[in-house]
């Protein structure tokens, strides 16, 4: 405006550039000024019954809006692809400069790349990079290198898969954001499941981006369910303080869930919940011979995923040095635990156990035992 005041001749009239249209299209609409009040003629039912004339649709404006939306979608996709490529390039740089240095400065180095992911609208990818230090640091020193390799390698797999098929809703969810609840419920591709569910675990964690993630795992109590588990994820700002859970651990209810479309659906939205009157149902009795079969199948379908709920056969918790292990009674297969369980649980026979396996550690969620149901702190 200042330049125009100084020298108006420098400004020639021309067509409105596309970027201006785009920018105006993305601006939040300001509130319309209040319509002037009609001349008061007193209240009248007849006047109220007169239908107001509808504003005529402007086809040109509609076409412009549609074009702008498509353009925005293209821009977003381009941004996401760039973010995925940037992350791959960053990981390649870390390999070239040495992972020992990255381990020492993981917290500082991840900040810049995580911010770049968020700028490119790849919020989910950014969040996963942001949580890298906490996941790696949770392990003993000698296992951190393996954990870092696993985390970075899985990010490479995710980036490559997304760049190969950016329209895939599961991959897009893992890179950008999940579909809205309304979009999910309206989707014909979203699998649905009903029946009796039990709340087998809940984990609340504060993320580095200031959000609190509340994860609730439901187990289907049907005899042979197509989807044995459902994960309900909720996010809210940490500034809102502690929020009480909508579920009690061990609670059973009749309900229906809609899964986000995926090769092996897990994340879901609860659409119906009814309290039960009768006695609680037992857990489904059949457990796969291989306790990690569910994890292996999930990795085959979506190798970028981190952890998977598993149902373990009868076993016990044992100790070896500072570590605690779950060990199957029959096969003797042993899995190391992420956290030491309560002293009381350490010696009990666990008839059936539900936990989260991430390829390295088992986080126990709940178990059935001769002492009744047991909940663990995931």
């Amino acid at each position: 405006m200042w330049m125009h005041l100084d020298d108006p001749s420098a400004f020639a009239e021309a067509a409105v550039p596309d970027w201006v249209d785009d920018w105006r299209g993305r601006r939040r609409k300001t509130a319309q000024p209040a319509a002037p009040e009609r001349a008061s003629t007193g209240k009248s039912m007849a006047a109220a019954a007169v239908a107001e004339s509808e504003t005529p649709v402007d086809p040109k404006a509609e076409a412009r809006a549609r074009a702008a939306a498509e353009k925005r979608a293209r821009e977003t996709e381009r941004g996401l692809l760039t973010a995925a490529a940037d992350l791959e390039a960053w990981i390649a740089d870390q390999l070239r400069t040495g992972l020992s240095g990255l381990l020492e400065e993981l917290d500082q180095r991840r900040r810049a790349i995580a911010a770049r992911m968020v700028d490119g609208k790849a919020q989910a990818l950014g969040g996963r990079v942001d949580e890298l230090p906490s996941r790696v640091a949770a392990l003993p020193g000698e296992q951190r290198v393996d954990a870092l390799i696993a985390e970075l390698g899985k990010l490479v797999i995710l980036c490559r898969a997304f760049r190969g098929n950016p329209a895939d809703p599961e991959l897009r969810r893992a890179v950008a954001t999940a579909e809205t609840r309304e979009a999910l419920l309206g989707s014909a591709d979203a699998p649905r499941a009903g029946g009796r569910w039990e709340v087998v675990g809940e984990r609340v964690s504060t993320r580095r981006d200031g959000l609190v993630a509340q994860a609730t795992w439901l187990q289907s109590l049907d005899s042979a369910p197509a989807h044995p588990f459902a994960l309900l994820l909720d996010f809210f700002p940490a500034a809102l303080g502690k929020r009480s859970s909508a579920f009690a651990e061990g609670e059973q209810f009749e309900g229906a869930v809609v899964f986000y479309p995926a090769a092996r659906p897990l994340r879901a939205q609860l659409v119906e919940r009814k309290a039960i009157d009768g006695d609680p149902l037992p857990w489904p009795g059949t457990v796969a011979q291989d306790p990690l079969a569910m994890y292996q199948a999930a990795q085959d379908a979506a190798p970028w995923t981190l952890d998977t709920p598993v149902v373990l056969p009868e076993g016990r918790i044992y100790r070896h040095g500072q570590m605690h292990w779950w060990q199957a009674s029959g096969s003797g297969e042993a899995l190391p635990l992420r956290r030491a369980p309560s002293q009381a649980a350490a010696g009990m026979t666990l008839e059936q156990t539900v936990g989260l396996w991430d390829g390295e550690r088992l986080a126990l969620l709940a178990a059935r035992s001769p002492w009744g149901r047991i909940s663990f702190d995931a």
Partner: protein
């Protein structure tokens, strides 16, 4: 598989240093990676996935099995009550260890025990006897050699944990006070002062004339606390050995008068003191002089002094109660508790806790007219969770709670003592009584899911085990 493991180990070493790993990769991986513009990223992805799926972790030594908690004589409470119990622990939050022990006692009185993963009780004073095997198990798990058993003898005296020894000593005093006394006389000197003090304090059980020589011998104990405890026990037996000068000094802080209520009656109360140092000195003297000593110095009998006490200053009453608990006999305490119910009610809960169950029962009809809940909890300590619905509704404490709720509604501010009062009522009511109180408080304006009502909700849902 070993070859793959070694290959990944070499690649890891090279990546740590910042060197390319392509040449060290297993051949099939190298072939897969070579065509890619970033072969190292392909190898990284393969290594990550192999590390997470191709290998299974294995302990590098024998696994040690833990010992599960032993089964107790009572069954674990039903599943539906377990969730309500956990809610009590989370939201109602028993105020301290004593409240926690009362809650466990109430559950045990209903015929249940808690699930060890919902709450593993600490082995502290007041733990219901049914949990004794868990206390011994916890001690074993912690590496302490703690044989079980509710009897104390020279063989297990040094092996038991301090808590288990105190419990066994109390049991022993209940049935054979002389044997218990001989044990403490023979082995007690080697114990630390705190443990010695706990055992000497437990000699109140079955206290009798036979204990006098041993207690007099403790006058030379190296711990001042043990000496004071022993002198208190002697005082309860009417053998106070007070310093006359101290007793007189304390008496000077009091005023004796007469009041005319049909019959002339002695009235005793604290004199008005002007300075804080005077009040502090009086507090100290309450801890050094016996009840007998004070009564003697005032020139009146113990009973007239207790029944004539004027509750005009809370601090002085607290000092007297402390003296009474330390040096008063059970009869003295019963007399003062009865007087306090009618007149003052301060520190009443502590006094009632010292009474025998039969003396407590005698006070209950009077306590039902008292607005405080703590004395009721103390009076019903031997039968928590059993007060019937009709009796619950009669309680003046319930009326006081209803008033607090209504006042809170009007001022939008919760009374600070409301939650503790609700917790206390949850401890003493039976299931039907708890349900009745829930209705009553809901009508008064409290939401049914109010955190303060958590214990009453749990209580109402906890049916007796044998029903």
């Amino acid at each position: 598989m070993r070859e793959l493991e070694n290959g990944i180990a070499v690649m890891r070493g090279r990546w740590l240093m910042g060197a390319a790993a392509l040449e060290s990769a297993p051949e099939s991986w190298r072939i897969a990676a070579e065509g890619d513009p970033e072969p190292e990223l392909v190898l990284l992805a393969l290594a990550a996935q192999a590390g997470r799926t191709a290998f299974r972790p294995a302990p590098d030594g024998a696994l040690v099995q833990g010992e599960p908690p032993p089964e107790l004589d009572l069954p674990v409470m039903p599943q539906r009550s377990r969730a309500a119990f956990r809610t009590v622990l989370q939201v109602a939050k028993p105020a301290g260890q004593a409240d926690m022990m009362r809650l466990l006692a109430m559950v045990a009185a209903r015929g249940w025990v808690v699930h060890p993963l919902d709450h593993l009780p600490e082995d502290s004073g007041g733990l219901p006897a049914v949990y004794a095997p868990w206390a011994a198990w916890a001690a074993r798990s912690a590496g302490r050699n703690a044989p079980e058993g509710d009897w104390l003898d020279t063989e297990n005296f040094d092996l038991l944990t301090p808590q288990a020894r105190r419990r066994a000593f109390e049991a022993c005093r209940g049935t054979d006070p002389a044997t218990a006394r001989d044990l403490i006389a023979e082995r007690g000197r080697a114990l630390p002062a705190e443990q010695r003090l706990a055992l000497v304090a437990a000699m109140v059980i079955g206290l009798g004339e036979d204990d006098v020589p041993f207690l007099e011998g403790l006058a030379s104990d190296r711990s001042a606390k043990v000496r004071l405890q022993a002198s208190g026990l002697l005082a309860r037996l009417g053998r106070a050995a007070d310093d006359a000068a101290l007793a007189t000094e304390l008496a000077d802080f009091h005023a004796v008068g007469r009041r005319m209520l049909g019959l002339a009656q002695t009235s005793v109360g604290p004199a008005t003191l002007k300075t804080e140092p005077q009040r502090r000195r009086r507090d100290d003297l309450y801890g050094l002089v016996s009840l007998d000593g004070l009564a003697g110095a005032l020139g009146i009998g113990r009973e007239p002094m207790l029944t004539g006490w004027r509750f005009k200053e809370m601090r002085a009453t607290a000092g007297l109660v402390q003296m009474l608990l330390r040096t008063g006999s059970n009869e003295d305490i019963a007399i003062f508790a009865t007087h306090a119910v009618h007149e003052g009610q301060e520190r009443l809960g502590e006094l009632i806790a010292r009474l025998a169950p039969s003396s407590r029962e005698a006070l209950i009809p009077t306590l039902e007219q008292v607005a405080e809940t703590a004395p009721l909890v103390a009076a019903l300590a031997h039968r928590l969770g059993t007060l019937e619905a009709a009796a619950c509704e009669r309680l003046a404490a319930v009326e006081a709670v209803v008033k607090q709720i209504r006042a809170g509604e009007e001022t939008d501010r919760r009374s600070p003592g409301l939650n503790q009062a609700l917790f206390d009522l949850g401890l003493i009511a039976d299931a039907a009584g708890a349900a009745r109180l829930l209705d009553r408080f809901a009508k008064a304006g409290l939401a049914r899911m109010d955190p303060g009502l958590a214990l009453l909700r749990f209580n109402a849902g906890l049916e007796p085990a044998d029903s």
